[in-house]
Structure formats: structure tokens, C-alpha cells
Symmetry: C2
Subunit: 714 residues, 2 copies
């Protein structure tokens, strides 16, 4: 019967696998993640509003919820209601005037400092790994390196709490990167419940890849973008199977999100936009300009941020992380409060910048001069281009100041000892720049309808330029410049906004931004932080272009003492122990004999030590003079000799080898594709040396004139 | 100066590379492809209309263009104008009545047979490789196999022409798969113009991967879907670099498309849909049902189609391809003409099925009973659910017949000796099934508002069920069942339709369809055809789960004669020639000596023959008694000996080795990831045997109880 099932194509094993993963990877992680993300959202929203005031009918309501329950609000002023009191009203009884302003200002500063102080102290006290975005470390972990405790339960708990605090404190950081870390923690903890995943590193890494996809899916409501983000940016090895599993996990996450309906508009979309005018080919020029800006900013940001982080690492600055966070928070709060565009949260700012102005819009950004006759408004509520009015000019000034402020403060914020993501700040910078350029283009077109470039598509009274679209393209360009994503970024952008028709502008800006940024420095922000921290990460994107051979990179070098090897039946326990103790290598090749140097296998230091230790303790007669035997059959021994110690079981019988003439680009490729940690080098069948991942990284660092000793030991 | 440029990060080499690829891969291929695809579209449209009638003001106008120029058409009957004459009007002077019908029927049949006859004869006479979809072969080529002439200029020209003929003949086939083949031909021909790509197989394959992306991008107007299709379905090895390059090529293609504006709606979207009602969670049940249908149909279709193709291969049927095509065309035409849903082209049918009914819609599918009071129509021109009328019932019957017809005819059509794609027929089957289910659900909800499942979201007068959405989900499910795509399919679907909000229904249906189909047979249609044709393709998706070792698979087997090896300095030219002539191996390992069997390198048969031949012709004194020397330094020889033949230059000094104890799953993994054709097997440093890709495929076929001799020699 069993065989008929098999021949019919139904494979019980594969199904068990799929279903167990469906349970672990798909229901638990996205559900937990969804709940966590929802909780984080709600808490951060409430605490952000707490900086400005409090709700009288219940302090646990945020500003919006507080006024929902009120009957006295009109549609126009939804966010003003008597139940919501600003701190000035509550403390000083005044809602206007300079005194109230100062009270509000001080309370804002106080809460910001309190939140950030709590965040940094919690991180320092309980989970030092909870700081930063976590994506560089997850990339490194997925490439095969082990950082113990990085994905543990303490990191999960503390990162969740401190993320809310950090976001609420008003610092220029986002929650998207940290959510990926949180999702990976969830997945890792769940993996520990199942023997299959606890014991198999490779399978666990596949689950982590899927978790990274879920993290982004949940953070942005962008399921496909999340899968592609995991593929393009986070994962090291992403087989098609993982693609499907991530896709399934993202499906469940999207479904959960759709059920929770967090953005309150029955759409999965975070910043839904609806533009009325199609874009024109001429507009590609400003879009590419935004791409160039994004690329330049990305490259400069990375260089500045790395320089600042290196300063923190090497000078006394690094010894006072709490003071650093408090100072940066104070500066941010002091500078941000007076400008409404920096005072609002990053997501709100982006949402406002993406928005197209309708007739009823009361926002400052839509402060155009009203058209004299109503015939200029077209049927579908879209508006013809209009001259900028007072309100818009004020908004532009404030935006320009906000741009400079955000560009500077993000450089010193990212990398502090609090959880901090980069997506929202980068997008905010780009969206501001894009909106400014968009309004500029709009006014240019309005006053110069007769210019050759505008003729034919931008006649008077037409709605030809949409500043919100420029903001969207600018956001994509800046995020692209910082992270160097391409396909995943475009997909995330159109999942974020629903703007499928704007795929060509987005692609053009993203591609330009990547080229410009790559020309100024090959590394994205995550790779730069990996290198800064010296993680042993073999970059899969960069081609190895040097013409060296395996023999040039392997140990021992010319002049070094010979390679420490064990022989398969010629050494005693004592001799083996001497070799192990006199070196620090993590493994030893086993050869037939010292003369022939023919390779038999590879033994890990750890296994060797444990086996000898166990044998000495339990096995009768194992002494220093006992022979260590790696062969299948124990060779004949003199009768008075102590019993031999048989260790064939712990030997890897299929160690990886290359010949000494193998080109290093091929060797590097083999290391990457097979995820090796070491590889033995032979010449005409004789063992010659060994290459480890660290040797390769050092060699690459030497070629690039960097300090080879900055690489951590794996 | 040069070094400063380098340290500044600008890398001239990388840039040259990028730009040369930008020129080749991005401008030429998409541009050519765009032009070709545009030409194919226009020609096919014209010839499809020619089957029904002709334009009097110019026979080169198709029906639509013909009536554009007419002033006598009204908006309601855009496709009726006096300039366009059906064949009955032209020949018999009658436009109505049974006689006119018969004349039109016969003319339709005549043109269909003429087109298909031309298509099949052209393919047979000039380019036998032009038949089929080409995707199985391109997959095989990308995995490292070489099929000479498959991507040549004759294939390009003939495939382009015959594709138009085949599509116009009304056969149940699409043009999307063949367009991928055409794009790859373009890319391959362009590669031959550049030394870099002509000489480097790997780089050429990367360009082909990008071309496959461009093919789908152009066929569907889905740039990102194209890139993901290439990643998920076509390519074997898809590094991030290729991802970016494909992305760039797809960007240019999308841009070209946007400039040409082929669909006439200033959108990139082929089947643009605009649905008014959001979907409800309860509807997931029918969506998953559609997924199950799609999976079942996909699995059954693959089994039936493969069985039919095997019959064609093994019986006398295969000797009469022209008659086969003519018979199938005749059957298709005779059955399709009376039913308007089968008479229209696949793309038109899908477009109509996806469409949501508006008030003004005159199509039969929208033949609902008009609401008695106008208050039921909601503000946004969407319609409340209504009872089905006479017209709709007729349409449903016709659709049901069309479904059965399409399901049967596609099985025997795909695989004939004409260019034929599967995307459009599969989508049509799914769209019909989906629309039927959708209308059924709509009527169920209309007459049973009070059922528990409809309560709360589907009250009377509400527009709750959109049959067009069901058609869309059904189309995705069936295409998924046939091809087993997931992520790329969802992206293509929402790039095709612009329906970002329906991502969860699409994902659910696609995933269900893949699971159901995988449970009934692991292979998608392309893999099944690869296996049917016996191409040496090492499936990257399937896991190798057998516990055999390298020693079980390698040659020579136990009892076979020893492995044919050369020694590095012990053999004469005559001895080498004897070994080469007495075997058919494509390469020989070189060892230090027959006794030690220590491996030095690997020599290809072809290089060996050419070198010996050249040496005998040109080099003085090379005779059969000359020593063949593979060492670096020529060993001392007796003075009277003829001069040695030095062949170190043609030897691969870094042949790939594994030990005899390496598990086969690891070996298979190495073959896949490194794209190997052979690998040497050693034991304790001595050469033991060789494993080729063919050995692995035979071993896998044996495990699966298939005929191991069905695999072609590579």
C-alpha cells in the first residue's frame, strides 16, 4: 500500500515537512509577529502623543482615540476636542501664548529624555544585543557565523520594549529593521521547540530567512516585498524552497494583517496614494535627478555614519552610551519641536508628503492660491496646477530646514545603543527632497507653459505635475542609496502605495541611485556595519577579481612550520594531546602517514578533546601511550601495548579539497556557494595546507589595503 | 592618478562591464524584443480578423482600425461599420441567414488551415527548433547543456513568423513562452558580436537569464514579474548581479513599452481591471476551491499532455506532423466557430472574463435583470448584485462548453510542431472556471442574503461579489497548477491587472494550487517536457533523499575495467592515442604514476586530440614513440629518444574532487551549485573513479524506477 501511495506521487515525508514548517514558520511566527507589531504600533502611538498632552477621559487613549469618543469635534478639526489637553492647558491652564509654548516644549523634552533613558538603560542592563537594527548581524548569522544569544528570548523581550521607547522618544529612527530582528528571535525560539530545527543549523537558517521576510511583510504590510527583501538583502543562501516557504509565511502574515486591519482602511497598504494625473516622459529627468540625489546621500550617509561609529568605537565617546543617547535625544527634541514637520513621526511625515492635494485639503502643503473660477477643477476632484500661496511657501521653508536637520541627525542616531531602523528616516529624507523638487517643477510648469519641454502635455489648467509622486520617487531613491536594494525596493514601494502605474519612475530612480552610490562606495549600510564590526562575512555580491591562487592564500605560508596533521594509525594519545594543546586550530587533517601526506579525513578540535577526555574517564586502559587509530580496522599491535583509542567515528570522511593551482576566484566561489568554513589544499594528491574563511577574508582585506586583523575569529 | 580613482571607489573595470552589458543586454534586447513583440501583436491581430472578413478601404487594416476611420459608427456599436465586410457579405452578398453563416464558417476554416499549414511547413523546412514553447530547452541550456543552433538566427526568424501564423490560426496556444525563446535568440546573437560573451559560457548564460526576464516583461507588460519568472522558473543559477541586470533590462523594456503604448491605455497593464467591492474573508473558501481546481487541472493536464506527447514520439503519429497540425486546426476551427467565447482570441476572452459589469455594459456576460428602481445603483457606478437574466444564462452555457473544449484541445495542441505557449490557454481555462463559480456565488448570495455566511456583509442591494475577481483568481490558480510558479505568478497577475488589493486571494489560490498539483506529481510542465525529451537537467528544486555514497555512483563500477588514466610523464604519444581511440570518454584524469594513482589534473579528449594532431603536423620529430609530458619540467631522457610532447598547457590543474565517502546528496548539491559536468573521486588521496552529470541522472532515474537510458549524453 505504501508503495502505491508513493508511486501515486503523494510523499508522506515531504508532507510532514511542509506541514510542520507550516505550523512553525507560518502560523506562529506571523501571528506572533503580527500581534507584536500591532502592540508596538499602538504603544508607540500612545506614547508619542503623551509627549504633547493627555486624554482626560482615560490616560490610555491616544490623541486620535480620545477625540473619536467626543461628539463635539467637527470633520474639519478632527484632532481638536475638549477631552484632549495639552500639557500647558493641564499644568498652566493656558492653551496659547509664549508661556504655554514653553511649558509644552519642556514637557516634550522631558518625556523624550525619559523614554530614551529607559530604552538605553534597559538595553545595557538586560540585552546588549538588542541595540541597532540587527540586520547586519542577521546577515552574518545567515552566512554561517554563530553569535550566541543574539536571537534569544531576552533580546526579544527587551528589543520589543525598548523599540517602543526609542520610537516614542522622537529620535530619528524607524521600527522596520528592528522588527526583522524581533521576527528572527521569535523564529529562533520556536525552532528550539522542535528537534529537527534545533539540531540542524541549515534548516534553522532557512526558517530565519523566512522570518526576515515576515518581519518586513508585517512592518510595511508588503508581503511580496518582504520575501524579496529577504532574498536580495538579508539571506545568504536562498533556494527556491525557502522562497515558497517565505511566500507562504508572508501570505499568512498578510492574511492576519488583513484580519486585524491595522491601518483602518481595509487595505494592506500603509501609505495609500491615489494620483490623478499620469506621469510624462519628460518627468523622467527630475526622477533621475532624484535618483542621483538619493545615491549621493546614501553614499555620503554611509561614509559619515561609519566614520562616526568608528570614532565611537575608538575614542572615549564609546564609554558613555547613556549620556550619548540622552544628548542626542535632547538635541533632537530641542530642534524638532518648533518645526511641525520634524515634530510629527516619520511615518506621518511620509504619509503627508506622499499625499496629493485635493480641493478640501487644509494642510499647509496644499496652501495654493485658490483658482478664480471653478471651471479649472476637473471632474474627478483632481486639481489643475495652481500658483503657490503663502501657506505653501512657509511649508517649503520648514521642509527645507527639516531636510537638513534629518540628514544630519540620522547620521549620529543610527548606531547608538538603542534599537534603531533606517527605513523610515531614509525615506523621510528622500520624500522631503522629492516634494521640494516636485513643487518646484509644478511652479516651473505653471509659470512656463510655453517652454518646449512642457508644450503638448502641460497646457494651462491641466493637472500635469503631482508633487506627491516626486516625494514617493525621492523616498525610494534615498532608501535605495542607503541599502542598495533594487527589485525588492520597487516592490515594497508599490505595495506601500498601491502605485503600480509608477513602476517605471520608481525603477529609474532606484537604478540610478544604486549606480551613483555604488560608484562612490561598493558597500550598502549593512555591509559597511558588518565590516566595521569585523564579522566574518563573505560578501556574495562582490566579485573576487584578483589573480591569486589557492597556494598563495593557504596556511602554512612559505617559511612557517609545517601543517599540524594527525596520522591515521601512527600517533599515541599523548602525542595527539601535545599537538592539540600547542596549537589553537579548530580542526586537524588526518593523513595516512607523515611521509605520504595522503589525506584521509578531518577531525574537529572540539570532538577530539571531548573523545579523548571521555575515553580517559570511562574506557579502561586508555593512557597517554595508547595508539590513536582512525582506520577502519585496528592494525596489529604488540601484545603488551595498551588498547588503542578508535576515533574513526568522529572523523569527517569527506573533507573538501582543492588543488594548489585552483584560482582564488573559484575558491571564493566554492566557499560562498557551499558555505564552507575551511577547505584543504592538495598538490598531486598530497596534503599541502588549509584555507579557512578567515584566511580568505584577510587576503581580501590585504588586497583592498585594509587592516587584515580587523576580522573576528570564526 | 589611477590609484586615487580606485581608492575613491570608482572602478573602471566594473563600469566598463556594466556599460557594455547595458548596451548589449539592456538597450538592444529589449528594444528588439519590444519591436518584435509589437510587430507580432499587430500582425496577429490583423490575421485573426482576416479570418472573419476584410476592410474595404485597405486590406491591411484590422477590424478595429478599419472602423476607427469610419464616421458612421456609434459608440455603442464600435465594431460595426460599412467599411468592414465579412466574407459572406463580400462573396455572397448576404450578411444574415444560414447561407452567410456557412460561407463565413468555411472561410474561417480555410484561413485557419492555411495559417497553420504555413506555420508547420516553415518550421519543418527551415528551423525544427522553432516549435514548442522553448522554455524547457532554455532551462536546460541555462543549466549548462549545449544545443547547437537552438538560439540561432534561423530559429529567431522562423519562430517569429510562425508564431504569428500559429496564433492567428486560432489554435489554443499563446505567444508568451515563445517570446521568451525569441528574446533568448536575440540575446544569443548579440552575444556573438562581443568577444567577452562569445568566449565565456557563464557570462552568456547570465545574459540569457536577463533575456528571459525581458521576454516575459514584454509579453505581459510585467517588468518585475518577468524578473521573478526568470528567477523562479527559467534560470538555473541566478546571482544577485543577474537580478540587477535583469531588473535594468526589464526597466528599459518597460520604458520602451510605455513609449510605444501598445495597449492604448497609457498603462503598462494588459488586462486592466477596476473592481469596486473589496473581498470578504468568507470568499477565501471559493478562492481556495479555485486553487484546488487549478492544481487538479494542472496535474491532470501535465499527465495527459505528456502521455499524448509520448504517444506521438513512440508511434507512427510522430511521422506526420503536418497532417497532425492540420487535423487539430480543423477540429479547433470547426468546434470554436459556433461559440463566441472560443472564437475570440485567448487574450480577448480573458479580458472579457476579468471585466466587472457596469450599467452600460452590453456584453452577454452582463445580461442581468435590470433593477426596478435606480436607487440600487450606488454612487461610484458599481452595481448591486442582481438576478441573472436570459443573456447571462446563455453566456454561462457557452462558457461551460468553452471550458470543456479548451481543456481537451489544449492537451493535444501543446507539443505540436508549431510555436506554442501555455500561459494564455491555461489562464483562459482558469478564468472561465472562476467566472462560472463567481456568477454562481453571486446568485447564491443574491437569493440567500439571510444565510449565516452572507449575513453582515452581503445585505440586499449591496455589491458584495465580483465575478471578475473570481476569474482572475481562477486564471492564477490554473497557471500555477501547470507551471508551479508562486511569487512570480502573483506578481505577474497583479502587474497584469493592477489589482494590488487582491494579493491575499491570489496568494491563497496560487499556494493551494501548487500544493494540490505537487501532491499529484512533483514536476511542472516544463520539467516534465525536459524529462520527456531526456535532456540532462539536474533539477535544482527536488531534494536528493537517498542515502547512497559517491562510491556507489562513480565509474568504474566493481568488476568494470580500471579507469582510463594518463600518467604525467610515463606514456608515449602512441599509447595515449590508443587509450583515446579505445574509449569514448570526453576527458581523462592525469596521475603521477599508475602505481601511486595520485591525481595531477584532467585533460579533455578534444584538447588532447587537437594538440597531438597539431604537434604531429607542425612540430619536428613528434612521432608515436615521443613521450607525452604533463610535468612542469621535462624529465631527463636518453639522448637518442625523440623530443617529448609537452602538454601541461592543456591540462586543467584544478579538477574537482570528492572522497569516496561523500554522501550523494552533498555531491548532487555540489554539482548543482557549481554547475559541474564531472567530478573525480578519491580515496585516501588516490584516484578511484569519476562521476559525471549523466551518472547522477541515471542514478536518480534508477532510484525513481525510471528508465536510466532515457537520458541524453551531454
Amino acid at each position: 500500500m505504501q508503495s502505491r501511495w508513493w508511486s501515486c506521487g503523494i510523499r508522506p515525508v515531504a508532507w510532514t515537512w511542509t506541514w510542520s514548517l507550516a505550523v512553525i514558520g507560518a502560523w506562529c511566527i506571523p501571528a506572533n509577529e503580527g500581534a507584536l507589531a500591532g502592540g508596538i504600533d499602538i504603544a508607540a502611538h500612545w506614547m508619542t502623543d503623551l509627549k504633547e498632552g493627555v486624554c482626560l477621559i482615560g490616560f490610555w487613549f491616544n490623541h486620535e482615540h480620545c477625540c473619536w469618543t467626543s461628539n463635539e469635534t467637527t470633520f474639519q478639526e478632527r484632532d481638536r476636542c475638549p477631552q484632549w489637553k495639552s500639557w500647558a492647558e493641564l499644568i498652566a491652564g493656558a492653551s496659547e501664548g509664549p508661556f504655554a509654548y514653553v511649558v509644552n516644549y519642556l514637557m516634550y523634552l522631558f518625556w523624550a529624555l525619559l523614554f530614551s533613558f529607559l530604552a538605553v538603560t534597559l538595553v545595557r542592563a538586560f540585552a546588549p544585543y538588542a541595540c541597532g537594527s540587527g540586520i547586519p548581524e542577521i546577515k552574518t548569522i545567515l552566512s554561517g557565523f554563530i553569535i550566541r544569544g543574539y536571537l534569544g528570548k531576552w533580546t526579544l523581550i527587551i528589543k520589543t520594549i525598548t523599540l517602543v521607547l526609542a520610537v516614542s522618544s522622537g529620535l530619528s529612527l524607524g521600527k522596520e529593521g528592528p522588527l526583522v530582528h524581533v521576527a528572527c528571535c521569535c523564529a529562533n525560539i520556536l525552532c528550539h521547540l522542535f528537534t529537527k530545527y534545533r539540531k540542524n543549523e541549515a534548516k534553522r537558517r532557512e526558517v530565519l530567512s523566512a522570518a526576515a521576510a515576515v518581519g518586513v511583510s508585517v512592518a510595511f504590510g508588503a508581503p511580496i516585498g518582504g520575501v524579496l527583501f529577504s532574498l536580495e538583502e538579508v539571506s545568504y543562501y536562498f533556494p527556491l524552497k525557502t522562497l515558497w516557504r517565505s511566500f507562504f509565511a508572508a501570505l499568512v502574515a498578510a492574511f492576519t494583517l488583513r484580519s486585524i486591519n491595522p491601518f483602518g482602511n481595509s487595505r494592506l497598504v500603509l501609505f495609500y496614494v491615489e494620483f490623478h494625473a499620469p506621469w510624462h516622459l519628460v518627468e523622467l529627468a527630475p526622477f533621475i535627478l532624484l535618483g542621483i540625489f538619493g545615491g549621493l546621500w546614501g553614499a555620503v550617509f554611509i561614509k559619515a555614519n561609519i566614520a562616526w561609529c568608528r570614532t565611537r568605537k575608538t575614542t572615549r565617546l564609546g564609554h558613555y552610551p547613556i549620556i550619548e543617547v540622552l544628548v542626542v535625544t535632547a538635541v533632537t527634541a530641542l530642534m524638532a519641536f518648533p518645526n511641525s514637520y520634524t515634530r510629527m513621526s516619520g511615518a506621518e511625515l511620509i504619509s503627508e508628503l506622499f499625499n496629493d492635494c485635493s480641493l478640501l485639503d487644509s494642510s499647509q502643503l496644499c496652501g495654493y492660491k485658490q483658482p478664480s473660477n471653478t471651471s479649472e477643477t476637473s471632474v474627478d476632484n483632481s486639481l489643475a496646477d495652481r500658483p503657490a500661496g503663502e501657506g505653501l511657501y512657509t511649508a517649503l521653508w520648514q521642509l527645507a530646514l527639516a531636510l537638513i536637520f534629518k540628514m544630519l541627525i540620522t547620521v549620529i542616531t543610527f548606531g547608538m545603543k538603542v534599537p534603531s531602523g533606517l527605513f523610515i528616516p531614509s525615506m523621510a529624507v528622500g520624500a522631503i527632497a522629492g516634494r521640494l523638487l516636485g513643487v518646484g517643477m509644478e511652479q516651473l510648469a505653471y509659470y512656463n507653459h510655453d517652454w518646449l519641454i512642457f508644450r503638448g502635455w502641460c497646457s494651462p489648467g491641466a493637472d500635469c505635475i503631482t508633487p506627491g509622486l516626486y516625494a514617493m520617487v525621492g523616498a525610494a531613491a534615498c532608501l535605495g542609496g542607503v541599502t542598495r536594494m533594487t527589485v525588492s525596493l520597487v516592490v515594497i514601494m508599490f505595495e506601500l502605495t498601491g502605485g503600480l502605474e509608477y513602476i517605471v519612475p520608481l525603477m529609474a530612480a532606484t537604478m540610478t541611485s544604486k549606480w551613483v552610490a555604488d560608484a562612490l562606495g561598493r558597500e550598502g549600510i549593512y555591509e559597511a556595519h558588518i565590516r566595521l564590526n569585523g564579522y566574518p562575512f563573505l560578501e556574495p555580491k562582490e566579485e573576487f577579481e584578483h589573480s591569486s591562487l589557492a597556494v598563495d592564500v593557504m596556511r602554512p605560508r612559505r617559511g612557517d612550520p609545517a601543517l599540524a596533521v594527525l596520522t591515521q594509525d601512527g600517533m599515541t594519545v599523548g602525542e595527539v594531546e601535545t599537538i592539540v594543546e600547542s596549537t589553537h586550530y579548530s580542526g586537524f587533517p588526518v593523513v595516512v602517514s607523515q611521509e605520504s601526506q595522503r589525506l584521509v579525513g578531518f577531525v574537529l578540535r572540539r570532538d577530539l578533546l571531548i573523545s579523548i577526555d571521555n575515553a580517559r574517564k570511562r574506557q579502561d586502559g586508555i593512557v597517554s601511550a595508547s595508539k590513536v587509530v582512525f582506520t577502519e580496522h585496528t592494525p596489529a599491535q604488540p601484545p603488551e601495548a595498551p588498547p588503542p583509542l578508535r576515533l574513526r567515528g568522529i572523523m569527517d570522511l569527506s573533507p573538501f579539497t582543492v588543488t594548489d593551482h585552483t584560482a582564488m576566484d573559484i575558491t571564493v566561489d566554492i566557499f560562498r556557494k557551499l558555505g564552507l568554513r575551511q577547505c584543504l589544499v592538495t598538490h598531486n594528491g598530497r596534503l599541502l595546507g588549509i584555507i579557512t574563511k578567515k584566511d580568505i577574508l584577510k587576503h581580501m582585506a590585504q588586497i583592498a589595503n585594509r587592516d587584515p586583523d580587523s576580522i573576528l575569529f570564526n
